[in-house]
Subunit: 237 residues, 2 copies
């Protein structure tokens, strides 16, 4: 499926402003001000300057939290987004109840304790994000993430992503596969499954280094229609 | 959701010809001619007279198999449909490789051996069918059955049904629930789950009598929207 740009000129705008450039700019800016985020039970609140909030939005990290404070903006990040800024981009610090978590592993362990599947989900997130895909929650489409080629204001998401690991509950029954494929099709997305595997050793999970040992297998799943798949061009509708 | 009739006058036609009456007529007719069906690995081929084929269609049992034979029609029944005609309506006989299975339990065991979940699915099927709902495969909507108030030529299906038992794989993950609810909504159906439970004793599964001990719990699942659910009528859109 070709990308569906939202307006005329959106594609040109996307080409002129690659996400990778915005992310580099964001990385420099956040590192300079030593920006810090506070952990809560399922997300991270990041305090930033107004121009950094604008940069975060351009790169699609987090959501702006409305507040009356002047000169300071609050951004709510998912665990994946926050850990990506911390571990991959090294541009934020993380606080828990007012205390700075100096070591990345402390943040890692906290997030794992709140969400046992965090390592798997983070691997999937960082796998796509590091290739400059933009990820958002796929909650409303019954998947884990939706994936955009560029900012969601320019283009519709192209893939709906299910993250699979050895003990996943999804796509086990045929009816479940049908359901996911049909829903993805009806919202013009391609279903992408990311099978994350490796690290049977539980000890390794205690360090973000375990991410190095994970492998990600990508599969798109789509409906096969005999009529549309014939070799004979004339038979095509 | 109100039933969506397919054309003007369809509701009146449905009221004038209740499914229950057609089923009684079918039952009498098939019993009289001692109609017989042959088991194959996943369905049953039933040989009938042309007027019986028409009756089967009116009651929505099986699908006509195209054949050049004159004066005889072949109907392909699912295991659930065939066993319902055999066990609940007592109007057909079942053959396996040319030999009549005199006892219902032999057919039961054969179907169970081919599809371990058959008892659960048959309980769900017969539960709704005996209340004169019409059931069809829900394959294309990622569910087990779709359910019609009357013949599919008159009305759209109202419910998409997932059959659940203790060891079901569906609706375990939240994303799966979202997926099923959103897809059902987008095709104007209500998601209905039938939880079939009972018979922890494996021995009992060897007899169709175990059906008596099953209980079926019905739940519809739908999205809760705060805006649409306020008490204050004025606030409704």
């Amino acid at each position: 499926m070709a990308p569906r740009w939202k307006w005329k000129g959106a594609e040109a705008k996307a080409l002129a402003e690659p996400i990778a450039n915005s992310v580099s700019e964001l990385q420099l800016s956040l590192a300079k001000t030593e920006s810090s985020g506070s952990l809560s039970s399922c997300n991270v609140l990041l305090a930033v300057e107004p121009e950094q909030a604008e940069l975060l939005d351009r790169c699609c990290f987090g959501r702006l939290v409305l507040s009356a404070e002047k000169g300071k903006k609050w951004i709510q990040l998912s665990f994946e987004e926050a850990f990506y800024l911390l571990y991959n981009l090294k541009c934020i610090k993380i606080y828990l109840q007012g205390r700075c978590l100096e070591k990345e592993v402390d943040t890692w362990m906290y997030m794992r304790s709140k969400r046992p599947k965090f390592p798997i989900f983070f691997k999937a997130y960082s796998h796509l994000r590091s290739k400059n895909w933009v990820l958002r929650s796929g909650l409303q489409f019954g998947v884990d993430f939706v994936v955009y080629r560029h900012h969601p204001s320019l283009v519709h998401s192209e893939y709906s992503v299910l993250v699979q690991s050895g003990d996943s509950n999804r796509l086990r029954a045929w009816s479940d596969v049908h359901c996911a494929v049909r829903l993805s099709g009806s919202v013009a997305k391609t279903l992408l499954t990311l099978h994350v595997s490796g690290n049977s050793n539980k000890e390794d999970l205690n360090l973000p280094l375990c991410l190095e040992n994970y492998t990600v297998e990508e599969h798109t799943i789509c409906r096969w229609s005999p009529e549309l798949s014939r070799e004979d061009e004339i038979m095509k509708p």
